[in-house]
């Protein structure tokens, strides 16, 4: 095993694409004195699903949260390197965080609907960003988002019910609906199915495949099967290093790096 833990000099595979939606270079992340991410460079292409896998504590969630600056709320977290969203640096001092998050939405591991009605949950984003002028327009956005999230048929008769009263899977799809209501360009998903049962998981996975049409998605997952099912490219993280990025099929069938192989064959993780 020890021979696997050699210093990772360079990411193997194809981390870079042409005309990327987002492109990250030489990213280091520190929590206080502890470094969590070591010199990661990767691109995310338009309308692709990029899966990030790796053992617990490998920094994949940390990296994901850097993509819409969610780590700004953590005082001791320091991020260096460049993050470009369509050629613009999102960590630029003049970059306002509010429009950034309107463009890069996030869905969390644990479903966290607001303790408000289903309608208000979805309408919240459009309301605070002033996306609509009339109530009917807002109604349209809410319905559209719930339809896209595959939740409309289940909740259309009880939009005034508490969002927190839904089942876990429905709550997570509500959170996705809430995110797509502000029509972001990129959706980040931080282990969106880890708190869900298999049926709810398969629904969310179907949804991800459909959302690919309109959105760019980066998804962190613990389940390799899930990564294999939904993603176009997969990135394997190990102890804060980005080991390998490759076409999903390629990575799971014929990994280029022995660490990746060790992980996907279940020798550790």
């Amino acid at each position: 095993m020890n021979n696997l833990h050699t210093k990772i000099e360079q990411t193997i595979g194809q981390p870079f694409v042409e005309n990327p939606m987002m492109s990250m270079r030489n990213v280091d992340v520190f929590y206080g004195d502890k470094q969590a991410i070591f010199d990661v460079s990767i691109d995310i292409a338009k309308n692709e699903v990029l899966a990030m896998i790796g053992p617990s504590g490998c920094g994949k969630s940390t990296f994901l949260r850097c993509l819409n600056r969610m780590n700004d709320t953590i005082d001791i977290c320091k991020v260096t390197g460049s993050f470009d969203l369509e050629g613009k640096d999102i960590y630029h001092p003049k970059q306002d965080i509010v429009p950034l998050r309107a463009r890069v939405g996030i869905v969390f591991q644990k479903p966290n609907p607001f303790p408000k009605s289903i309608y208000d949950n979805v309408a919240y984003g459009p309301k605070i960003h002033g996306l609509t002028e009339s109530r009917s327009e807002l109604d349209g956005i809410v319905e559209d988002s719930l339809r896209k999230a595959g939740l409309w048929d289940e909740v259309k008769d009880r939009l005034d019910h508490q969002g927190t009263g839904l089942s876990g899977g429905q709550q997570q799809r509500l959170c996705i609906a809430r995110t797509i209501a502000i029509s972001p360009e990129v959706i980040l998903m931080d282990e969106p199915c880890s708190a869900l049962d298999p049926i709810a998981t398969s629904k969310v996975e179907e949804l991800i495949t459909e959302l690919k049409e309109n959105f760019t998605i980066a998804i962190v997952t613990h389940s390799m099967q899930q990564a294999a099912r939904v993603s176009d490219r997969t990135a394997y993280f190990h102890l804060g290093n980005l080991v390998e990025v490759n076409n999903t099929q390629h990575l799971f069938t014929n990994p280029d790096h022995k660490l990746t192989e060790a992980y996907i064959t279940g020798r550790f993780g």
């Binding site: 819409n68 969610m70 429009p99 998050r101 969390f108 966290n112 303790p115 919240y124 605070i128």
Partner: protein
């Protein structure tokens, strides 16, 4: 653990160290002991709760037992002849004359009608002492209201003197004999006559709720104290709620975590433990001494009490804000909400029940507080009902303190009655706190 060995297939196996039987025996052996300990533990709790309940019951029975009689007051039924000559009114249309007419004399005359045989200056004075000095004002008010009564004869229930009231109440309870107090044998005989003539009666004591303080127990009421307390609380609520909640939000959501914040936090906790009289001294030195504010006004009392309740409100509000799950904040930030939107739309609504509970507990504390008010002169003898935040006034607990100090026996029951009024306010506030929390609480 040395009992791990690798078997032929390469799997690790654990060898049992103790046989099953002995483990079970050991467990069974300690089981009875564990249950006994658990029962004892539960019993301690029950005993403590019972003790607390017993204390409460004793307190309430004592206060209600002493105070309930204050809600009834003795009146003497008199046939008052509102003769123009007796009243000394020459022109019935002159309001000044009606105001200053000799109502005292009219009452005396009507007493004389009942006790025709009472002669002599001293006896007459004693007879007149049976009715309250406030009775003439009572009559005057009635006439002022309806001047047409002049010249007629009316039946009026006039307030009896507090000695009469005390005697009558102790007579009816009757355990250790009636308490005569300052009443002479002659007066007692007259009172018996009045009872026989069915002229002494007990009615609900409205005076207690409509009057301010008085030297005469039968004329003393809690209205000025209640008004003073309400004004003071209003100021306290206004100041401590706004300042308290703003500081809590800043400290929880905005303040950087450094030694200055830690220092502030430690000092807020210290302030919560400072004896209330110190805040009174502070008010005296700063607000009266330095800023030259008027003493004994609700505005000043409210400021001093809000200094006292601020730490309570800040601490409980911070706890309420802390208890809002971080996932809600993240969800809102993830949607692109600004910090203020996160706080106003999500954190505050969820923290509000806790904040309100803390505030109402702080208010209840302020309502019952006496010591700081003594230092800033709200211990005054206030007869008039305060009409503004800058009128001299007193507060309910201070009123209780003052009455508890008074020598007249009739003040004993009034003290207890005032305590009952104060407790009623406190219980109402606490019920309100529970109701608000239940109503605003959201589940998820």
């Amino acid at each position: 653990m040395n009992n791990l060995k690798v078997n032929d297939e390469g799997f690790e196996q654990r060898e049992p160290t103790v046989s099953k039987k002995t483990t079970l025996d050991l467990v069974n052996k300690t089981l009875a002991k564990r249950y006994r300990a658990e029962k004892r533990f539960k019993l301690y709790g029950i005993v403590s709760v019972c003790f607390a309940l017993l204390c409460l019951v004793v307190l309430f029975t004592d206060i209600v037992g002493k105070g309930h009689s204050a809600f009834f007051q003795t009146y003497i039924k008199l046939d008052v002849n509102l003769d123009q000559v007796v009243l000394g009114i020459s022109d019935i249309n002159d309001p000044d004359e009606i105001k200053y007419a000799n109502y005292q004399k009219a009452l005396r005359e009507s007493l004389k009608l009942i006790f025709t045989d009472v002669k002599g200056r001293s006896d007459k004075r004693k007879l007149n002492a049976l009715i309250s000095t406030g009775a003439s004002y009572q009559l005057a008010d009635k006439v002022k209201e309806n001047p047409a009564l002049i010249g007629q004869s009316i039946v009026l229930d006039v307030l009896a003197d507090d000695d009469v009231d005390t005697w009558l109440k102790s007579r009816s309870s009757g355990a250790e004999g009636a308490f005569t107090g300052r009443l002479t044998t002659k007066q007692l005989a007259w009172l018996t006559t009045l009872i026989d003539a069915d002229r002494l009666e007990q009615k609900f004591n409205t005076v207690f709720f409509t009057n301010g303080d008085s030297r005469e127990p039968e004329l003393a009421g809690v209205r000025s104290a209640i008004t003073g307390s309400l004004f003071t609380l209003f100021v306290t609520l206004l100041l401590s709620f706004t300042i308290g909640i703003s500081s809590a939000i800043y400290l929880e959501e905005y303040a950087p975590k450094n030694w200055i914040t830690d220092f502030i936090e430690v000092n807020i906790n210290n302030l919560a433990a400072v004896p209330s009289i110190i805040f009174g001294l502070l008010g005296l030195a700063i607000f009266i001494g330095l800023f030259g504010m008027t003493r004994s006004i609700p505005l000043l009392g409210g400021i001093v009490l809000s200094l006292m309740t601020l730490p309570t409100i800040i601490i409980s509000s911070r706890a309420a804000i802390k208890s809002v799950p971080n996932s809600i904040r993240e969800a809102a930030y993830g949607m692109g909400a600004s910090k203020m939107q996160v706080i106003l739309h999500h954190v505050l609504p969820l923290a509000l029940p806790g904040m309100l509970t803390g505030t109402i507990i702080g208010m209840a504390q302020a309502l019952g507080e006496t010591a700081p008010l003594l230092m800033i002169g709200m211990v005054a003898f206030v007869v008039d009902i305060p009409g503004a935040l800058t009128d001299p006034s007193t507060a309910l607990p201070v009123q209780i303190f003052l009455w508890a100090d008074s020598p007249e026996r009739a003040f004993i029951e009034r003290t207890s009655a005032a305590i009952m009024v104060l407790l009623a306010f406190l219980i109402t506030m606490n019920t309100l706190a529970v109701w608000l929390r239940k109503r605003l609480e959201r589940r998820w």
